[in-house]
Amino acid sequence: MTRIDGGLTDRGTTLGFRFNGRAYAGHPGDTLASALLANGVQLMGRGFKYHRPRGAISAGSEEPNALVTLRSGARAEPNTRATVAELFDGLEARSQNHAGPLERDLLAVNDLLSPFFAAGFYYKTFMWPKAFWEKLYEPAIRKAAGLGALSGLPDPDAYDRGYRHCDLLVIGGGAAGLAAALAAGRAGAEVILADEDFRLGGRLLAEGGRIGGRPAADWAAEAAAELAAMPNVRLMTRTTVFGAYDHGIFGAVERVADHLAAPGGKVRQTLWRITAKRSILAAGATERHIPFRDNDRPGIMLSGAIRAYLNRWGVTGQRQAADPVAIFANGDDGHRTAAQLAARGVPVLGVIDPRADAPNLGGYETFAGAMVTGTKGRLGLTAIEVMRNGRAEWLSCGLLGVSGGWNPNVHLASHHRGRPVWDEDHLAFLPGEGGPAGLIPAGAAAGQGGTAEALADGLRAAGQALGDLGIAPAPVELPAAEAEPARQEAFWHVPGKGRAWVDFQNDVTVKDIALAHRENMRPVEHLKRWTTLGMATDQGKTANVTALAVMAELTGKAIPETGTTIFRPPYTGVSLSVLGGGDTGKAFRPTRLTPTHAWAEAQGAAFVEVGPWMRAQYFPRPGETHWRESVDREAQAVRAAVGLCDVTTLGKIDVQGADAGEFLNRVYANMMGTLPVGKVRYGLMLREDGHAYDDGTCARLGEAHYVVTTTTANAGTVFRNMEFARQCLWPELDVQLISTTDAWAQIAVAGPKSRELLSRIADGFDLSNEAFPFMACAALTVCGGLRARLFRISFSGELAYEIAVPARYGQALMERLMALGADLGATPYGTEALGVLRIEKGHAAGAELNGQTTAAMLGLGRMVSQKKDAIGAVMSRREGVAQDTRRLVGLAPADPARKVVPGSHLFAPGAPEDTAHDQGWITSACFSPHAGHMIGLGFLENGASRLGETVIAANPLEGERVELRVVSAHFVDPEGGRLRD
């Protein structure tokens, strides 16, 4: 036990938790790491590659080592940093990446093989045989190396997303952030202060300093209370601002319920999109370590982390309270840790400082001009080797703090195109030019890391932001803060034999960087990819700058010449669940239901997704055991009697205006302006490159009023393109468009008895062939006064109509038609029968209009008017497009028992079945109840003149080839008599 007095945890309450099955106790305010350290547990995990024992090196989100799996079952969450996991009663955590118990990891054998695992090892070794990579090498490597495993179960928790706006977003609630928020808040600005921690204060909670004569943590608490009371300030703790995006938009994740055993009705996390006019980056700084031989043992930590555990959590960090603590530092910062520990009665071995003029802040011994050159301790530090004046000495030590200076957290300032700049005075990269507009770095993030400097810099940044915003500042007096000694000297790594870790998470050592240098992987981008430095969950927060400095030393260049290290979002890992914002499963995208959906459900229909729509696929009847039984029956009912199908999903665009006809002339390949009122015409739309992209009907309801229909799939695209044509190409035309797809329910009434059925609802409307012939349309009323539109169009080749009524009457109309048509054999049919009917009739649909076909290929070449300009007209006549001889044909198997498979390619009998001899392909196929065998549609070279010929349909993927006869695409009623009856 290494818990001492003081700190900010609630000692009056005890929380029980388990780590690797063993029970421990902690307190509210603890993190998992602080609670484990308080219990004398330093060993928290195993290294990525060599499986060496590892412990926490930090007290924050930069942690590379102490990754654990929190919780169990579906809520198991791998790769959680113990240093930020807030302790709760009943928390369960397990260490990762070991075989057998953590203390006796069988995979630690990798450490003995380490000479073989140098940087680039995988690239060089597992090259041959090539086929082994996927099957053998990769799975084996992945199993041995890596992080925690996912549960594989669906995430049981809810996630949400939200939007917030403010004048000023302050990122980070430490000294600078609090000062900035106070200044802006008092001036009346709308402020959001976000901090990843669960308690505001940042390093003020960790440093043990004093502000205005009282503990800094008290000042932070008072500042937070004042801010919380301001109506114009919103405090967001447990919220990580992970990325800066264009125009002042920030991404942030609020961990709403991660600190609870289970969310208990709350969402687990919320994804916030914060739009801020100005922002202050007060994200603090991350301490860096100094690589030396065997510097990765549990019990070796960042010096500032030891200070944080001491001051914030009242934990000293050794396994036994009597174990001596040493500090290895290149600056005064490390001495502060030693002095604070000594003042609290912790046994301090001393401060090892390479500077000849190293100071002594009192209460400990200074080893000036000395370095740590080795360590011992299998599962935790037991001794360090100190080299002074050429003499090495082993000293007993249970905890070593390392301080190599501080790297400002420039991450968000380097999003967009911000390039950090090296500052020789600070021995660090500071935020540079070109970062997110309106983002002002402040405090330690801007190199102003002392308490007094950070407070003043926060105030300065707020003043700048308020000035930009045009808000008058309110007076803020800064309390006095002690100045901390902060002198340091560049010292990047301890030279010598053995392995000195630079990146703990990826097991990258100084030697690996030297190897990368020898192999000419010198640019930092290459260094990163060759060694994997800076990858994985910590993204090199504690490693990148040190690695750059080591590379600079090897190349003999200065650090800024060697390169810089920039960061992309996210600042820390963001779960995919929260990025989804709860839009999973059915909520992934909207589902559109047809007006008759509930009715179809009641009929027991099977449904199919068609774009965003759910459409009835077929309507099984009792006794039908196979979908084809239902589909054949439905198709036959249409051919013999009358069928009903909801076709609401087809896009409907209302086109009105004096120039509507001219406009349609220009968007359709064929002529539309000449269409008489009360008539419908089939229309084909081309892309500007000359290929067909959508078809449908165009009905003229009045002099200046047309209704255009589109395919279901292209409804949105056609509308967008028509708006483009209207606004961008021909703004001089008087024409207005509106989508009425959802306004009108439309039902196809198809079959020889359709007229009879409709006559039972049409209020005195003359449906005779003379009064309302094929391709007629009219507005009328049905069912005693309900306004409706009737179109005599046919997709099936039978006498057929489509009737539209306001959408809210769609279901009632369907029910009425079914009831009134019972004696006629009225049968509902779904998309499958619809497809069968249109293939039998040879109508093109999505499989034919696949973006590669021309009007001529569809047999509609003559429709493309030569008399007028239209979208795609010029390009449809260009060479290579106009000469395409492939035509839509019908295909029937020579042996009626054989299958016709869509996607099969067509060849002349006897020709080699290869690309050079390819003559086309089958687009659609189905079993035709009308023909009694399978039939297909396809595009075939010179298809128009090959009726009666035999072709081979090859399906090499399934090893099938079928002999087909080329026939008319109109398997039903090729003369078209039925639909004109």
Partner: protein
């Protein structure tokens, strides 16, 4: 990104559908011939820097806009109704 819609003020880019080079407004006259159409259909400018491009306010008022944007910084220098641009260039 936020797009300054000339009628509706700042709108989130998520409400828009992106098309690209605003040169698409300048559709050749039909008698300009195949070569002019090939250029119009297939050849687009894609500059690193200031670019005039078409955005469709699909989840909004269905205006097509010509947005002037710096593709390097995403700074938006202006936005106007494509209809106004088309009328001017007609």
């Amino acid at each position: 990104m936020l797009i300054p819609h000339p009628l509706l003020g700042l709108r989130d880019a998520q409400e828009f559908t992106y098309l690209g080079d605003a040169a698409l407004i300048g559709r050749p006259a039909p008698e300009a011939g195949e070569a002019a159409f090939c250029d119009y259909v297939f050849l687009r400018d894609n500059p690193a820097g200031i670019h005039r491009e078409l955005w469709f306010h699909e989840q909004g008022d269905r205006s097509w806009l010509v947005v002037t944007r710096n593709t390097l910084t995403h700074e938006i220098l202006g936005a106007e109704l494509a209809t106004d641009v088309a009328r001017r260039s007609a």
